[in-house]
């Protein structure tokens, strides 16, 4: 039987400015692709004890067997050692990267070494070019750098440009990588790893075909998935308002992290709601390649020039719930325009929005409590809602303006270890909190997830389900549910399916799509692959310093009531103790 899964891995050595292509069919045959392939390649190439920004530390990009074949298989998985947490860095992005990597002929790309001067690595089909990026380094706006690269490189329409801004260049631990202007490998600091290797951008393009054996089955199954995607109410929600539609849901749940999670409801939530933003600002919707949903929402912000009458500039700003949380509610910003301009500044700087917002929220509270003063903040008086001052703070942060900002650039947990205030630094295992704190399952999920996303182990949806059913579960029971779900979702992320489409890619659909791609797997075989990937990721985390014994949530979570009723420290600690037993058994 012919198989339609990728087999080639592109290895790039930046120190030698060389590359080679290896046939690695066994990786994709056994681990599917995406998360599964990436963890295998990371284990092979990332030595224990290596510093995240050392030349030897690898960057792995991978795609899956359904990429380019079926809709909604639109994600690229990146794995690396995280400069923020020091252990497993895993970040997924949409845009066109996945299609471009597959269409260039690869299942994965592994980059090691470091360049002596800034480079753009351009991968066009099976050829790799190293372009001098000296003139792009240090450029203030990531948008400008993007448009210059667009004009200089071929492959318009079928390419991806994964680039960093000053955040990554200056090795901010939560510097991000942007692709196609509005999608990101946002979390855990891939941008800093790019920066340490002097990679300004990785450009990928290609136009291959993928041959399948059973063409009729392929077309029928495609139509089934396509129909489900365009008719599903969940997908309509993501199309109409995007994840910004969650503002109202979260407000009703009392789960809008407000002013550094001191409150769970924000008095200005209505002005930041998906409905209000769409009405007042929505300028365009975008989709990732091969996704009919188009959940990406872009606001058009029209600003007058102060000294010139009738002259305006229009800025196009991508927004979604996580940004509304991180650069809006958690900073007490209720002015939608102010929030959008702050999002724009963070975007142009190439910083992870969530970590940036949470770090600034910690700094604001630390200032209120007198742990830091204007001496530290370079003269800024940080105050809830004052987005203009936050704009300057972002600039100080990305330029590492002084010792305080250099410290803050290593994350809120590190900053709190120097200045105090760990109890209100919203950091979980060294990573700033995602915007879905709906209850104890969410928090346990943030602590125990092998990635960073609430979507990987579904703690947030478990909290919501329990709330709906009026049920409470013991902490160990929650942990069991989280681990079970995360194991299954390793299958989805190994197929690079957007987790918004998890309801469409049921185990049965997954089995059938895999059959079209040439795999003969039973449901149990597929679940076993998920369990194995989970085990490998945890083994990597533990080998690289992740410690379940020292894992603690910030005390702040115990002060904030959640919709699922009160829970205390003993509850979370019981969950963590049980998780340690289970995870130790899984890994050993």
């Amino acid at each position: 039987m012919t198989h339609a899964y990728p087999t080639k891995v592109l290895y790039i050595d930046l120190t030698k400015k060389s590359f080679y292509i290896a046939e690695r069919p066994e990786i994709f045959a056994r681990s599917l692709g995406g998360t599964g392939a990436a963890i295998k390649l990371l284990q092979e190439t990332c030595p224990v004890g290596v510093a995240p920004c050392a030349p030897e530390a690898p960057i792995v990009f991978s795609v899956g067997p359904l990429t380019g074949l079926f809709p909604l298989a639109s994600k690229t998985v990146a794995m690396f050692k995280s400069p923020l947490t020091g252990n497993l860095g895993e970040s997924h992005a949409g845009g066109r990267a996945a299609q471009a990597i597959r269409m260039a002929g690869f299942g994965a790309i592994v980059i090691t070494g470091a360049s002596d001067l800034p480079v753009c690595v351009a991968i066009h089909g099976s050829k790799v070019y190293f372009r001098d990026a000296t003139s792009l380094w240090g450029m203030r706006s990531l948008f400008t750098a993007g448009s210059i690269i667009r004009a200089a490189e071929p492959g318009a329409g079928v390419r991806s440009i994964m680039r960093i801004g000053r955040g990554g260049e200056n090795l901010v631990s939560f510097g991000s990588v942007t692709t196609e202007t509005y999608r990101h490998f946002g979390r855990l600091g891939l941008g800093a790893v790019f920066g340490s290797k002097k990679i300004k951008a990785v450009i990928v393009s290609g136009e291959r075909s993928i041959l399948v054996e059973d063409k009729k089955k392929y077309r029928d199954l495609y139509d089934h998935i396509f129909k489900a995607a365009v008719e599903s109410p969940a997908m309509k929600k993501y199309h109409d308002l995007g994840t910004a539609g969650n503002v109202k849901t979260m407000q009703a749940l009392g789960a809008v992290p407000t002013r550094n999670l001191r409150e769970g409801r924000f008095e200005h939530a209505d002005s930041l709601s998906g409905e209000a933003l769409a009405k007042g600002y929505l300028g365009r919707r975008l989709a990732c390649a091969h996704c009919p949903v188009a959940c990406i929402h872009i606001a058009a912000v029209r600003e007058p020039y102060e000294n010139e009458p009738y002259f305006y500039k229009t800025t196009m700003v991508g927004y979604d719930w996580e940004l509304i949380y991180a650069l809006g509610t958690v900073l007490g910003i209720g002015d939608p325009e102010g929030m959008l301009l702050l999002i724009d500044a963070v975007e142009k700087a190439g910083l992870d929005a969530i970590s940036t917002g949470v770090c600034l929220a910690w700094a604001t509270e630390a200032m209120e409590r007198g742990l830091i003063s204007e001496k530290e903040t370079n003269g800024l008086h940080l105050a809830w809602g004052d987005w203009r001052t936050y704009l300057t703070a972002v600039e100080h942060l990305v330029t590492l303006a002084n010792d305080f900002y250099r410290t803050l650039a290593r994350g809120s947990a590190y900053a709190a270890s120097i200045y105090g205030g760990a109890e209100f630094a919203l950091s979980f295992g060294g990573n700033e909190m995602p915007g879905y704190p709906a209850g104890p399952a969410s928090y346990l999920g943030f602590l125990l997830g092998t990635r960073h996303s609430h979507l990987d182990n579904a703690g947030y949806s478990l909290d919501q389900t329990l709330l709906k059913e009026g049920k409470r579960l013991s902490a160990p029971h929650i942990v069991d549910e989280l681990i079970k779900e995360e194991m299954w979702r390793q299958v989805l992320t190994s197929l690079c399916i957007c987790l918004f489409a998890r309801g469409i890619y049921t185990p049965e659909v997954v089995r059938e799509t895999l059959a079209v791609a040439g795999y003969e797997f039973s449901d149990e075989d597929i679940r076993a692959i998920g369990r194995e990937i989970y085990r490998e990721k945890y083994a990597f985390k533990i080998a690289h310093g992740f410690n379940l014994d020292t894992l603690r949530p910030p005390d702040r979570i115990y002060d904030m009531p959640t919709a699922n009723g009160p829970f205390d420290r003993a509850f979370i600690e019981e969950g963590l103790r049980y998780a340690k037993e289970r995870i130790t058994a899984i890994v050993s």
Binding site: A4, Y182, S209, R219, F226, R284, R285, A287
Partner: protein, 135 residues
């Protein structure tokens, strides 16, 4: 029949039309697509959809040195692959850049206006228009 771009402002850049075109022959990927969607100078500016306009006096056919492109009575052309040597003259002649190229076979990709792309555009960008046969 003729593919018509009715409102490129509605295009979200999902490229489902491109994948659909490749899939006509049951092939995945993008090497076979006769329609192209690219950003109009960055994602923030929206998209340009490029597809054959089925010209009645097609420059691509006039440029072909080997008569591999046959004029269709309703406009546009049909490729006779057995005559085509992949010289690329047709591609150079099309100002719309609507003659796409298969890098794997090194031959042009010519839209036959079958309407598959229209069927898979969920956003109302494309339409299949009836054309009269012009003599």
């Amino acid at each position: 029949m003729k593919i018509k771009v009715v409102d490129s402002q509605r295009c979200v850049g999902c490229q489902l039309c491109m994948f659909a075109c490749s899939r006509r022959n049951g092939i995945g990927g993008l090497s076979n697509s006769c329609i192209g969607v690219k950003s109009a100078g960055g994602m923030s500016k929206g998209f340009t959809v490029v597809v054959c306009r089925s010209c009645t006096n097609p420059p691509c056919a006039r440029a072909c040195p080997l008569d591999a492109l046959e004029k269709r009575p309703e406009g546009g052309v049909r490729l006779r692959p057995e005559r085509c040597i992949g010289c690329g003259a047709c591609r150079a002649a099309c100002i719309l850049k609507a003659v796409f190229w298969n890098e794997e076979t090194q031959k042009p990709l010519i839209c036959v206006h079958c309407g598959t792309c229209v069927k898979y555009c969920p956003h109302g960008v494309l339409e299949l228009e009836k054309t009269e046969v012009r003599s």
